[in-house]
C-alpha cells in the first residue's frame, strides 16, 4: 500500500448568495444553473486544468428533487461542458454538503483514486424550502429518539441558550452585529468579490447581473437587533438578526493531488491536513463542531492552539459562541471569521462549506505567519464537521 497522497485545495468560487423567495434575485434562476455557472467560472479561472483530467465531480444539495435532483454531480458536469467521460455524483449532509463533497473527494485523492476533482454544493431555498417533502419516520418521536425540537433548527439554537445561560441574547446580537460589520469591511477591502462568479438573473423587468451577496445588512445596529421578533418561542433569544437567513447560492472548488497540481503548474491555496465529522444530540445540533474539531485535531496531532485562523459557519450566533467558549476563545477574537460569516452573507445550506474554504484560503495568503486553519460547521440532526488545512504560504519568519 502506497503512502497517502497529498491533497490540495487549488481554487474555490461561489455565486453571490441571494435571499430566498419570490423577491430574491434568483427566484427565476434554476438551482442547477447556479452550480453550473460556479463550475464554469472555476474552470475558466483555471485554464491549465484539462477537463478530461477531472476524475470526479461531487455536488451536494439537501433537497435533491427537481432542479436539485437527477444526480447533480453528473448533470452539472455535463451542463458545464466537461467531457462526457467525466463522472459525477450527488451528495447530502444537509448544511455540510459541500464540506462533505470536499472531504469525500479529498479522501479519494488521498487514496490515489483521483488526481483532480471538483467538489461543491448548491441550495436554492426559495425553490426548495427547508424541510419540503420530508417524511420523518414516526419512530423518531414515538420512541423519543430525538426531541421534538430536533427538526426545527431555530429551536435547537434556543436549546443551546437554555443549556448555557451565560450565552445571552445580547451576546448573540453583539456577535451578529460584528458579523455584519466584518462583511461590510471585507467587501470594502475587496476580499469577497474576487471569488464570486457573477450570475445573469432574469426578472420581469429584464436581465440583470448578480455581483454581490444580497443578504448583508451593513446598516444593522444593536438597537435594531434588540427589537427583532423571536420566532421560535415567545421571549426567546434567537432572531432573524442573530441567525443565518434563508438563501440561494452555489459553490465549487477544485481539489488535486499534490503531484497533479505540480504537474499542471497549479497554484496551491491550502493543503488538507485532516477532517472529522461527529454526532451530538440532535436537539442541540449547534454543538456539533466541538466534538468534530476535537476529533480532527486528534487525527492531525494538533491542539487548538496550533490553529491560527478559524472559518466557522454562523448558522446561529449562539452556536458559534458555544464553540468559541468551549475552546476558550473570545467572541471577538480576530482569528475567527475575519471576513464575517453566514449571519450576514447567508447560508444556502449545502453550498456553504466551500464558502468557508474560499475565505480561509484568501486569509492564508494574507497571513503567512499562520500555519494551520480550520473550517467547521454544525449540521442538522446533530452533527458537526471540521476540516483542518495547512497554509502553503506559511513562513516561520513572518511576524
Amino acid at each position: 500500500m502506497a503512502d497517502r497522497a497529498e491533497v490540495v485545495f487549488v481554487d474555490g468560487v461561489r455565486t453571490p448568495f441571494g435571499r430566498a423567495g419570490e423577491k430574491g434575485m434568483y427566484w427565476n434562476t434554476r438551482a442547477d444553473d447556479l452550480v453550473v455557472k460556479a463550475m464554469i467560472g472555476l474552470l475558466e479561472r483555471n485554464p491549465a486544468v484539462p477537463g478530461e483530467r477531472i476524475d470526479e465531480v461531487a455536488i451536494a444539495a439537501t433537497t435533491q428533487t427537481g432542479d436539485q435532483g437527477l444526480t447533480l454531480g453528473r448533470t452539472a458536469a455535463l451542463l458545464s461542458g466537461l467531457p462526457k467521460s467525466v463522472p459525477g455524483f450527488a451528495i447530502d449532509r444537509m448544511c455540510a454538503g459541500a464540506m462533505t463533497a470536499v472531504t469525500t473527494l479529498g479522501a479519494g485523492i488521498g487514496f490515489g483514486a483521483y488526481d483532480l476533482a471538483i467538489a461543491g454544493g448548491v441550495e436554492h431555498m426559495g425553490r426548495h424550502p427547508m424541510g419540503s417533502g420530508v417524511d420523518p419516520n414516526p419512530r423518531f418521536l414515538s420512541e423519543r429518539l430525538v426531541s421534538e425540537d430536533a427538526l426545527n433548527m431555530g429551536a435547537t439554537a434556543e436549546r443551546i441558550h437554555d443549556r448555557f445561560p451565560s450565552y445571552t441574547k445580547e451576546r448573540s446580537d453583539r456577535f451578529a452585529l460584528r458579523s455584519q460589520q466584518k462583511v461590510a469591511a471585507a467587501y470594502a477591502a475587496e476580499k469577497i468579490q474576487p471569488d464570486l462568479i457573477p450570475v445573469a438573473i432574469r426578472s420581469d423587468a429584464g436581465w440583470g447581473l448578480a455581483t454581490r451577496d444580497e443578504a448583508p445588512r451593513p446598516e444593522t445596529t444593536l438597537e435594531g437587533l434588540a427589537t427583532l421578533k423571536t420566532p421560535f418561542r415567545p421571549f426567546g433569544r434567537v432572531t432573524a438578526g442573530n441567525a443565518s437567513g434563508l438563501n440561494d447560492g452555489a459553490s465549487a472548488c477544485l481539489l488535486a493531488s499534490g503531484k497533479a497540481a505540480k504537474e499542471l503548474g497549479l497554484t496551491v491555496k491550502m493543503k488538507l491536513v485532516s477532517f472529522a465529522f461527529a454526532g451530538v444530540e440532535p436537539e442541540v445540533m449547534g454543538l456539533g463542531p466541538v466534538p468534530s474539531t476535537e476529533k480532527a485535531l486528534r487525527k492531525a496531532g494538533l491542539s487548538i492552539t496550533d490553529i491560527g485562523l478559524f472559518e466557522l459557519n454562523e448558522a446561529f450566533a449562539v452556536q458559534v459562541i458555544s464553540f468559541l467558549d468551549h475552546f476558550g476563545i473570545d467572541d471577538d477574537d480576530p482569528r475567527v471569521n475575519e471576513y464575517g460569516g453566514a449571519i450576514a452573507i447567508g447560508h444556502p445550506l449545502a453550498s456553504s462549506g466551500v464558502r468557508l474554504m474560499n475565505q480561509l484560503a484568501r486569509q492564508f495568503s494574507e497571513h503567512p505567519e499562520v500555519r494551520y486553519g480550520l473550517t467547521a460547521m454544525c449540521i442538522g440532526l446533530g452533527q458537526g464537521g471540521t476540516v483542518i488545512w495547512e497554509n502553503p504560504h506559511f513562513n516561520r519568519k513572518a511576524k
Binding site: 464554469i40 458545464s80 429584464g206 455581483t211
Partner: protein, 720 residues
C-alpha cells in the same frame, strides 16, 4: 436629409392598437472601476413560442429608452449600453401583421423611417453600444444588432438571418447599408441575397466567422461573459479585430464585380420578376460609398415602394400559408382518431417504392417490409435502401447506431403473409387502374381488416382503385411529389368512402414524415397536377399550333415561375408529362389539351439542348423538327392571356367543385408542391391582381384582393 426625430409616426401607431409590444426593460449592471452598463432586455412578456417582434409601439418605446440612456450617458451615469433578448429570442423581426393595412406610400415609408429612427439611436449614445445576440435574430431583429457598435453571440443560437428578400422585402432598417460595410460585399450578398433564396439561415458560428458577431460565448454563461467582454471593450483593454471590414481596394475593385456576379446568379435562378432581391442588390451596390444617413434614406425609399407594391402583400400571404395554414390543415379530422403505426408495408420495390420505404423507416422508425413480383426486385430494393442509409451514415447525418437500427428495420419479401401485422400499407406500383385494383385486392387477404391502405396515384381515381376492396373505407390517396425526400407536400385524397380514422391517420403519418398535407377531393389530378396540366397543356397546345418555344416561355415569364414549361416537362420526364396531359384531357376534354407532339418528343427523349454541365443552351434540333408544322402561332401577349384566364377558370371550377375548401389551399399546394413563388402568392393572388379572375368570372378569389396600395416601387437611388 431626413431628420427622423422631426417625423410624426402617429399614423403607424394608429394601426397598432393590438400590437404585442416588445418592451425595453433597463437594468443597471455594475462594472469594475465604478462604471455602469445599462442592460436593455427586449421582452414581450410571452414565452418563446411568441417571439419578440418589432412593431411601431415597440420601436417608439425602444427609441424613448435610448433617448433616456443617452441623457444618462451625458451625465456620466452609464458607460455603455447593451441590448439583449428574452430567453431563446433576440427578436424575430418586424411585426408584419399590419403591413396589409398600410394605407399609403407615405405611411409605408414612415415604417422604414421609424426603424431607422429607433435602431439608429444605438450609434448616437455617446457611449459604446452592444447587442448580445442571445437567441433568434431575424430581419429587423438582426438589424438591432447591426446598428450597435459591437456584437456578441450565444454559441447555441440556431438562426441568424436577413430573410427579407424571400418575403418581398429588403433589409430596410439599416441592414442593406450596414452589413456590407461590416462584413464585406461578398459576405453580405450571401447573407442578404443568396441565403434567403435557399431558405438558409446562419448559425452562431457562421455569424462569428462572417464578422457579424465580434465574439462568441458558450450558452451556459453567455450573458455573464458578454458583460465581462463589454466591460473590457469599454475599459479599452479589449481590441476588437474586424478582418472582414471592407477596405479601399475591396470598394474599388471587388464591390461592383461581386454585385454583378450576384445579379447574374439571381437572374439565372429566379429571373427578374421578383422585385425585392433586385432592389436589395441595388442597395448593396450603392452601399459602397456615401454616408450611413444616405444609405438609410435609400432604404426608406426602397422599402416604401415595396410595401406599397403587390408582391410584398402576396408574399406575406404566402408566408402565412406556409407558416400557419400548413400546420393546421383545413378539414383534418381529430388527431386522436389516428391509428398508431407500428409496421409499414410497401407494395413495390422500384425506385419510388424504395424511396417511400426509406422515408418511412427514417421518420417512423418502425419495421418496413417491401414486396414485389420476384425476389430479385425485392433484393434490389432493399439493397438500394441500405445503400442510402450507408450514404447518410457516411455523410454523418445519422450515427452508426441509428444506421444499424434503420437497416435492421427494413426487410423485403415475396411472401405477402409478412404484411399481416402491418398497420399501414402503401402501394407504388405501375400507374394503371387494373394493376392497382388487383394489388390491393390481393393484399387485403393478408392484412388486418382495419389496416390503412394508401395509394400514391397521381392521376387515377382513388375510389376506383379501391373498387375491388372489401373495406374501401380504409383506403386513402397519399400523393407524394418528386423527389420524395425533399418536396414538402403530400396531397391526401379523401374519397367518399374514406372514413375519419383513415383520413386522420393519413394526416398524422404525413406530419410524422415531416411533410405538409393538404386534403383534396378525389378528382382528376387533385390540385397540383391539375394546375400544372393546365399550364403545360396550354404550353404544348401553343407549340403544336406553331408558336415557338421561346414565345411560350416569354408568355409565361411574367409569372416569375422557377422554370419554363419545357424545363418542367424535362424535369418530370417527357413521358410522364405526356401521360398527365392525356389523363386530364380524358377527364376534361373541352378544357385540357393533349399533345401528340409531346408523345413524339418523349419518344425522342429530349426537348432542350444542354451543355456538358447540364446548362440549357437552347432547344434540341430534332425536337424543333418534331414540333414544326403548326400554322396558327400565337403572340406572347395572347398566350399570356390564355394562361392567366385558363388558370382562373380552372381554379374557380376546382373551388366550386370543392376539390379543396379554399383558394388558400390551392396556393399552399402550388407553393409546396410546385415551387410557385411567394411573390405570386402561390397563384390566386396573382390571378386576381392581373385581372384574370375579373375577366373570367367577374370576381376575385380574395376579397379584398391581396394587393399593395399601388404605388410604383421606387428603386434604390431614385431621387425623391
Amino acid at each position: 436629409m431626413s431628420d427622423y426625430s422631426a417625423l410624426d409616426f402617429s399614423p403607424l401607431v394608429a394601426l397598432s392598437a393590438d400590437e404585442v409590444v416588445t418592451h425595453s426593460f433597463v437594468r443597471d449592471v455594475p462594472l469594475s472601476h465604478g462604471r455602469v452598463l445599462a442592460l436593455v432586455t427586449l421582452d414581450n412578456g410571452r414565452d418563446h413560442t411568441r417571439p419578440n417582434t418589432l412593431g411601431p409601439v415597440t420601436l417608439l418605446e425602444f427609441a424613448a429608452t435610448m433617448d433616456a440612456l443617452k441623457a444618462r450617458a451625458a451625465r456620466g451615469e452609464i458607460h455603455g449600453v447593451a441590448v439583449t433578448g428574452k430567453p431563446f429570442i433576440l427578436a424575430a423581426g418586424a411585426d408584419l401583421s399590419k403591413v396589409s393595412e398600410i394605407p399609403s406610400l407615405e405611411t409605408g415609408k414612415l415604417l422604414a423611417q421609424l426603424g431607422h429612427h429607433a435602431l439608429g439611436k444605438q450609434s448616437e449614445l455617446g457611449v459604446p453600444s452592444f447587442v448580445f445576440i442571445n437567441g433568434l435574430a431575424l430581419g429587423g431583429g438582426l438589424e438591432i444588432a447591426l446598428n450597435a457598435d459591437y456584437r456578441t453571440v450565444d454559441a447555441s443560437v440556431p438562426a441568424i438571418a436577413l430573410p427579407e428578400v424571400s418575403l418581398g422585402l429588403i433589409p430596410g432598417w439599416g441592414g442593406s447599408y450596414l452589413l456590407p460595410n461590416l462584413i464585406g460585399i461578398e459576405n453580405a450578398l450571401k447573407v442578404i441575397i443568396e441565403n434567403p433564396l435557399k431558405n438558409r439561415v446562419l448559425k452562431a458560428a457562421d455569424a462569428l466567422e462572417l464578422g457579424i458577431a465580434d465574439v462568441l460565448f458558450a450558452s451556459a454563461s453567455f450573458l455573464e461573459n458578454s458583460i465581462a467582454w463589454a466591460e473590457k471593450v469599454i475599459a479599452g483593454t479589449e481590441t476588437v479585430a474586424r478582418p472582414n471590414l471592407p477596405g479601399k481596394i475591396e470598394r474599388l475593385v471587388k464591390w461592383d464585380a461581386a454585385v454583378g456576379i450576384a445579379r447574374r446568379m439571381l437572374e439565372n435562378r429566379i429571373g427578374t420578376v421578383a422585385m425585392s432581391p433586385h432592389v436589395a442588390l441595388d442597395l448593396l451596390k450603392a452601399a459602397k460609398s456615401g454616408t450611413r444617413q444616405e444609405g438609410f434614406e435609400r432604404e426608406d425609399d426602397s422599402l416604401a415602394g415595396l410595401i406599397s407594391g403587390d408582391q410584398l402583400q402576396a408574399s406575406i400571404y404566402a408566408f402565412n400559408l406556409v407558416q400557419k395554414r400548413a400546420k393546421r390543415p383545413a378539414g383534418a379530422p381529430d388527431k386522436a382518431l389516428a391509428r398508431p403505426i407500428t409496421k409499414v408495408g410497401v407494395i413495390g420495390a422500384g425506385l419510388m417504392a424504395s424511396q417511400f420505404a426509406l422515408l418511412f423507416v427514417r421518420r417512423l422508425r418502425v419495421p418496413v417490409v417491401i414486396t414485389d413480383l420476384d425476389q430479385a426486385r425485392v433484393d434490389k430494393g432493399v439493397a438500394y435502401i441500405h445503400d442510402e442509409i450507408l450514404a447518410l451514415e457516411n455523410k454523418k447525418r445519422i450515427t452508426s447506431d441509428e444506421a444499424n437500427r434503420l437497416r435492421a428495420l427494413v426487410t423485403g419479401t415475396t411472401d405477402k403473409a409478412q404484411f399481416a401485422d402491418a398497420d399501414w400499407v402503401i402501394e407504388a406500383v405501375f400507374e394503371e387502374l387494373g394493376v392497382k385494383q388487383d394489388v390491393f385486392a390481393e393484399i387485403e387477404k393478408h392484412i388486418a381488416p382495419d389496416a390503412i391502405l394508401a395509394t400514391n396515384t397521381s392521376s387515377l381515381s382513388v375510389e376506383q382503385i379501391g373498387a375491388k376492396l372489401a373495406h374501401p373505407e380504409r383506403l386513402v390517396g397519399f400523393h407524394f411529389f418528386n423527389p420524395v425526400a425533399i418536396m414538402p407536400l403530400i396531397e391526401v385524397v379523401n374519397t367518399p368512402q374514406t372514413n375519419d380514422v383513415t383520413l386522420s391517420t393519413a394526416m398524422v403519418v404525413a406530419g410524422k414524415l415531416k411533410k405538409n398535407a393538404v386534403i383534396t377531393r378525389d378528382t382528376p389530378g387533385f390540385v397540383v397536377n391539375r394546375i400544372l396540366a393546365k399550364v403545360l397543356g396550354e404550353a404544348m397546345h401553343a407549340v403544336d399550333t406553331g408558336t415557338p418555344f421561346d414565345v411560350v416561355s416569354e408568355a409565361i415569364a411574367p409569372f416569375g415561375l422557377p422554370m419554363t414549361p419545357f424545363e418542367l416537362l424535362e424535369l418530370v420526364g417527357l413521358k410522364v408529362g405526356a401521360h398527365v396531359l392525356d389523363t386530364h384531357h380524358a377527364a376534361f376534354p373541352d378544357r385540357f389539351f393533349e399533345s401528340e407532339n409531346l408523345h413524339k418528343l418523349a419518344e425522342h427523349g429530349k426537348l432542350l439542348e444542354r451543355d456538358a454541365k447540364g446548362k440549357i443552351k437552347g432547344y434540341d434540333k430534332a425536337a424543333l423538327k418534331i414540333v414544326a408544322g403548326g400554322t396558327t402561332p400565337m403572340t406572347a401577349t395572347d398566350l399570356q392571356r390564355r394562361f392567366e384566364d385558363g388558370l382562373a377558370d380552372e381554379i374557380k371550377r376546382m373551388l366550386d367543385d370543392d376539390v379543396v375548401h379554399a383558394a388558400e389551399d390551392i396556393d399552399l399546394c402550388m407553393i409546396l408542391g410546385a415551387g410557385y413563388p411567394f411573390q405570386m402568392g402561390g397563384v390566386t393572388p396573382y390571378l386576381d391582381r392581373v385581372g384574370a379572375s375579373e375577366r373570367v368570372f367577374g370576381g376575385t378569389f380574395h376579397t379584398p384582393p391581396i394587393r399593395g396600395v399601388g404605388a410604383v416601387p421606387a428603386l434604390a437611388g431614385a431621387a425623391e
